[in-house]
Symmetry: C2
Amino acid sequence: MLGRRVTLRDVAEQAGVHPSTASRAINERTRSLVDDQTVDRVLQAADRLGYRPDTLARGLKTNRTFTVGMLLPDLTNPLFPPIVRGIEDGLERAEYTVILANTDNDSDKERTVLRALLGRRIDGLILATAQREPPPAIRELIAARLPMVLVNRTMDDQSVSSVSGDDRHGIRLAVEHLVGLGHTRIAHVGGPQRTSTGLTRHDSFVESMSRCGLDVDADLIEFAHWFREAPGAEAFHRLLTRRPDVTAVVAANDLIALGCYDVLVERDLTVGTDVSVVGYNDMLFADKLCPPLTTVRVPHYQIGLRAAQLVLDEIGERSTEAVQLRLPASLVERASTGLPRDAR
Amino acid sequence: MLGRRVTLRDVAEQAGVHPSTASRAINERTRSLVDDQTVDRVLQAADRLGYRPDTLARGLKTNRTFTVGMLLPDLTNPLFPPIVRGIEDGLERAEYTVILANTDNDSDKERTVLRALLGRRIDGLILATAQREPPPAIRELIAARLPMVLVNRTMDDQSVSSVSGDDRHGIRLAVEHLVGLGHTRIAHVGGPQRTSTGLTRHDSFVESMSRCGLDVDADLIEFAHWFREAPGAEAFHRLLTRRPDVTAVVAANDLIALGCYDVLVERDLTVGTDVSVVGYNDMLFADKLCPPLTTVRVPHYQIGLRAAQLVLDEIGERSTEAVQLRLPASLVERASTGLPRDAR
């Protein structure tokens, strides 16, 4: 152990216990929570390794639970499992675990589950539910400097670190792909504008169309009130009724794109032939859909991994400034996009 | 509060803290872990509600962490998110949370993550990784009477409670559907036989074929070494090479069915027309595949919910005998099955 300070983790490993158990066993205030045999094993290990008092003092002061809470709308949305898996893998290396809490996009439920997480004395928080303007409960935690990282979202004031895909570039790739095929009447079914994801994807759609020299009539844009199939279908139904001449649509995510599929099938129109559809996320099975979905790939597992690293850095006080990480997006071309119907 | 014993949970609610915090605040051994203001609030709430010493004594004795561990192969397998969501919702009502640990079907990793879970002093364990013969580490925990419930799997000796779908009946529905369409040369791509799921589905395939008066040649059966697309494709490739005359296949799960899709596409055969394919699970987007997959629906969310109830019952010592719950399965007919090609 020459040349390196012996850490609590070393002691825990030597004693064959979790670091949180080692911490409890070493700390006299909490020793009674651990059975005597384990206490003996930990203290012997500390002795053997020469675990030093000053390290000890720091370990006690931190009093960590080695858990991070995560608020997410709903684990069954296919966007989240790869992000959560990345977070779990990233945290595991530091012997941390994540406790998930589903909010179902209900602000009352968000408050309740957040309180439950805090009651468990989490060391940090990962938010996949962030809105551009945080609710009071989150604002309080930011003020209290609870280590916090946003995934797939940002807040307007950028006071909290975030990891997301490069949405601006991703939507630009989608628009340029359609323009390259010859489309000019391109619609956008956006997501909720209270989320950074919904807003950025919409803004980039408008910018990218202009950059390609195309007008963006306001009636070419509709918003889904949430990032799911049914709200996507409702929005696209309104849009197509008003503008039956559109030949392509950029959906704010893959589930909204699936809603567009449903509307087209209902109207006896063929996806990719009559109307081209581009999704966003390249979720699980996007390549197996009928037809396979052209979409923008976002490295969700990597997003989770980086978010875990950031929150661990904040917990370990290795990082103090908020950073906004954007991981690159790429277009995946499949059969849901093709030449405009008037060019066939 | 007349007529009902005041519980620790009532005190926690009144004080606006998590039950684990209330427990720590009330217990003199652990009070120092909670800040003074919270201790005051909890003790006042206990006073106000008339929280009684004997209840208190029990609360102390139990010394719970209000966490349940769950071992699963991989959260990104679409089978698991609805099960996990059901578990989370079921546990939440009792203010319990689940800590997930992915094993990636690696027995070394399983041992490591299991040790980490135990280090966190989980009150119970939910296993989605069970094999028919448990490894030594799990056997030890069974002997130590750690509250434990299996989901989607059983062990041969049935010493541990389990919640799964009725696989025997589900596969019978699949075979009868194909026989009803006129198929006679029906193949089975089974899952690994060291899992109860793989074994039961295989056994039921053989039984159901016999019951329908059809011979089951051994060469109509192949096994995937795991429940995923690539192993499914490899197995079906071997099978079709040997028996190009089969007109239908019952896959042990939807991902293996997707592997069968891939093999058929590669051979320029049309799913549902040249060869009918039946999956198992009715996973997310099974209805959106190309073609939409005929499959057996299993109520995964309900399985998770019941598993949560069972493990809470065991933790609360309201249940001592192991029970094997089987929830009903049903067939969902879609475009991947049709008349045999020689009958068209």
